[in-house]
Amino acid sequence: MSLTLRVNPIACVGHGMCAELLPEVIELDRWGYPILTARTVPRPLVDHAKRAVRACPTLALLLEQGTGKHR
């Protein structure tokens, strides 16, 4: 079972913390909203991903078990 990232775009207001803490997987678009460059989090980055999830002020970044089939 792998861990996948997902953004709740309604909750996200573009603080950009996630891209600071997890630049390997998250970049920001021209308006400052996150773009996931990979759904599945590589194993060495899992701790960083958890930190990014905790740091999101609006709880918009989600780390989930599974295939990442949901958008």
């Binding site: 953004v7 709740n8 775009p9 309604i10 996200c12 207001v13 678009d29 308006w31 909203y33 773009i35």
Partner: protein, 480 residues
């Protein structure tokens, strides 16, 4: 070709029977003399749904004369899920745009925990669609039958029929129809008619669910999806009103009857709304698999030479007329051609119109209709609309003089980049619908797009807008 005429709202609506290709569509002379076809299936071909329009007493009485009594308690005797089996065997798919198998959706709601809810979606947010309004104004009891039957089948204790709240006369006529049924003790559940705020995104299914739960009519983050946790947290079956009308016929005449129209892979009939440069715009019932060209012919053909069809509405796609003509009107057929069936909207674009300007106007409208929740949609769609307006009306230069400058020739690249950055990043399909339309414009009209970028607007931009938009009369389309 037998024709029946009706009116839906302010728009003329013509309903006609088309019997394409299939010799099974022919009726014997004896059968034609039986009018109304009491308790008989409305023929193997078309019209089916629209067979009930005209020639009979209005209201419940005429409806029952035409289609026979609703078999709700008869079907339920023994096993309430019988209709779900029929729906699955019929191959009926959702007629609201997504085309999800109806029976499968019903089964997953029926299998969910606790009490269930049925929601009929008649909000019809697409500005160029009239089919749901036609059904609700002319054949309300067919839709209400479908709601009652679906509620019985999934074991629902609540049912709602949602329409746009700005349509006062429609709300009243539906309330009257529901009361008529209550007086006849017809329905197993109480059906409540609900008016939604008039916005494009209100008709999205999660918007409706949130509104019925007391919130704003804007989409929510999913999962959970409505069939898992919807109204009051209960599994909720959301069906388009046309889907429910088909279900009402399947309950009466069976899955094999349903499959006698359309294709084996896409059975049945569907309603399409045809507009643009055609002689007789209106709502038509076709067998699935009828070609797009035949649909234009049904509307008595083009009024002037055509260059393209917009199929599927404003979440649909442009197809050049030569490519579009033979395409079968099915989800799979249109997808293979780079388009989408959506809710069955066909708009014929004459050669004298500018497809770039038409697209720019619609994307501006869609940008204004964002729910304002997701950043990529809130910022991305207006940026896309700006870039398209730039291309359409100023010819690709972003300088205020619109004639020259270092940015000339960059708007096409900008449009492509914006499409990529917006797509798939909203909570609902709103941004994706808009980008699909913009992308199809680039694909269908590459020469026009290049010409605009290099040489400025074409003559077509001076034509009045063809594609209908709500509130068009107050709009300034800043033609420069």
């Amino acid at each position: 070709m037998a024709g029946r005429r009706g009116r839906a709202g302010e728009h003329p609506v013509t309903t006609m029977a088309l019997v394409p290709r299939s010799p099974r569509g022919a009726r014997s002379p004896a059968a034609q003399n039986l009018a109304p076809a009491r308790f008989r299936p409305p023929g193997p071909g078309v019209p089916r749904l629209l067979a009930g329009i005209g020639g009979l007493p209005p209201g419940l009485e005429g409806h029952q004369l035409r289609y026979g009594p609703m078999p709700v308690r008869g079907l339920a005797r023994g096993r309430p899920g019988r209709l779900i089996d029929l729906a699955e065997a019929s191959g009926l798919t959702g007629r609201g745009g997504a085309g999800f198998p109806t029976g499968r959706k019903m089964r997953s709601v029926a299998a969910g925990p606790g009490s269930k809810v049925v929601v009929a979606n008649g909000a019809e947010g697409e500005p160029a669609s009239r089919k749901d309004r036609l059904l609700l104004t002319r054949l309300p009891h067919l839709v209400l039958d479908g709601i009652a039957l679906a509620a019985e089948a999934v074991g629902a204790s609540e049912a709602y029929l949602c329409v746009h709240g700005s349509q006062d006369s429609l709300l009243h006529s539906l309330d009257r129809a529901v009361l008529e049924r209550q007086a006849a003790d017809l329905d197993p559940v109480r059906i409540e008619v609900v008016g939604l705020p008039h916005r494009y995104v209100s008709s999205e299914q999660s918007s409706i669910v949130q509104f019925l739960n007391g919130g704003p009519a804007v989409p929510t983050f999913s999962p959970p999806r409505p069939h898992e946790r919807g109204v009051n947290g209960n599994p909720t079956l959301v069906h388009n009103v046309e889907t429910l009308a088909h279900l009402a016929l399947i309950a009466r005449f069976g899955d094999r009857w349903f499959r006698r129209a359309g294709l084996p892979s896409a059975p049945g009939t569907t309603l399409v709304t045809v507009s643009g440069a055609v002689r007789n715009p209106g709502v038509y019932e076709i067998e699935l698999g009828t070609s797009a060209g035949q649909v234009v012919a049904l509307a008595d053909g083009p009024t002037e030479p055509l260059q393209a069809l917009l199929i599927g509405g404003y979440f649909g796609a442009w197809l050049p007329v030569s490519a579009a003509w033979p395409v079968p009107m099915t989800h799979a057929g249109l997808k293979a051609a780079g388009g989408a069936l959506g809710a069955g909207i066909v708009i014929a674009l004459p050669a004298s119109c500018c497809p770039i300007a038409e697209t720019a106007r619609v994307i501006r409208y869609l940008a204004e209709e964002t729910a304002g929740q997701c950043g990529p949609c809130v910022f991305g769609l207006p940026a896309l609309a700006d870039a398209l307006a730039q291309l359409a009306f100023s010819g690709g230069a972003s300088g205020s003089d619109g004639s020259s400058g270092p940015d000339r020739g960059r708007s096409l690249a900008e449009i492509a980049a914006l499409i990529r950055v917006v797509e798939g990043r909203g909570a609902c399909r709103h941004p994706d619908g808009a980008t699909q339309l913009a992308r199809s414009m680039l694909r269908a009209f590459p020469a026009d797009a290049l010409r605009h970028e290099r040489q400025g607007p074409c003559h077509g931009v001076a034509r009045p807008p063809l594609l209908p938009l709500p509130g068009d009369e107050e709009r300034d389309w800043d033609f420069r």
